[in-house]
């Protein structure tokens, strides 16, 4: 991601709307992106950042979350990196369908499945020292051959 922006935020929920706004505005610089894809990205980024903020619950307030957003000719890439304790994404248990009465006892379990549906690609690299979520949304080819530079 040589062309793009980087945000560093405190791990506080109040910053979520800022992250969503900045990432969507940056992605919209690619005029070929459909509004629905921007909405997909908005939600996926919000989910990734929410998980990152939650992972910092027991860390010192000086530890920050980094969000990088880059545009290339055919994709928007967003990376959300936290310093919280990691997890094994392959061992996440599906929460089950909502029409099962017992599912209503659990309010969570939507974030990662939503990201998997909304993004064209998702990679989750998690270790003891933190987790990085990479989200990719494909964009249609543009007639403008120059890449957008936001730095």
């Amino acid at each position: 991601m040589t062309n793009g922006i980087t945000l560093e935020i405190p791990a506080k929920a109040e910053y979520l709307s800022l992250v969503r706004a900045v990432v969507v505005c940056a992605a919209a610089l690619d005029s070929g992106v459909e509004d629905q894809r921007l909405e997909d990205l908005r939600l996926a980024v919000s989910e990734a950042t929410t998980n990152a903020i939650r992972s910092h619950a027991n860390l010192g307030s000086e530890e920050r979350i980094t969000i990088r957003c880059g545009l290339t000719t055919d994709r928007i890439e967003v990376e959300v990196q936290d310093r919280g304790p990691g997890f094994n994404p392959d061992k996440l248990e599906p929460a089950g369908p909502l029409n099962q009465p017992e599912r209503l006892n659990y309010e969570g379990g939507f974030g990662i499945p939503l990201m998997r549906v909304l993004a064209d690609e998702i990679k989750i690299n998690s270790a003891d020292e933190g987790t990085t979520v990479q989200l990719v949304v494909y964009t249609p080819p543009s007639n403008d051959s120059s890449q957008t530079s936001m730095t």
Binding site: L16, S46, F110
Partner: protein, 104 residues
């Protein structure tokens, strides 16, 4: 980010008109309001989401918690005024199968 919540009492229903985005920052406030209404005996709640253009999974969790809380107290939680993108999200998550939605 501040969540605007305007209340109206209609028959035995409480209509809450929500303004803003429902996420990790604002969801707890809505959850608290729903808990408060149910504790006060108002277990029939309608959420007007006409002026809500964004809900994330935390917001969905608030709706699920509200649904369980109202129904277990003999009431219900319904949503009206959903935008197309919110309807799509409800479908994606299966919330449309358990939550009553009305267009008006």
């Amino acid at each position: 980010m501040i969540l605007g919540i305007n209340e109206q009492f209609r028959d035995n229903w409480v209509l809450l008109q929500i303004n803003g985005e429902i996420d990790m920052a604002t969801g707890p406030e809505l959850r608290q309001r729903i808990v408060q209404y149910v504790q006060e005996g108002h277990a029939h709640i309608i959420l007007d989401l006409t002026n809500v253009d964004f809900i994330d999974s935390t917001g969905l969790g608030v709706l699920i918690g509200g649904l369980k809380r109202t129904r277990s107290n003999g009431g219900d939680l319904q949503c009206i005024g959903l935008s197309e993108s919110l309807k799509e999200m409800f479908k994606l998550t299966g919330l449309d199968t358990v939550l009553t939605q009305e267009d008006t």
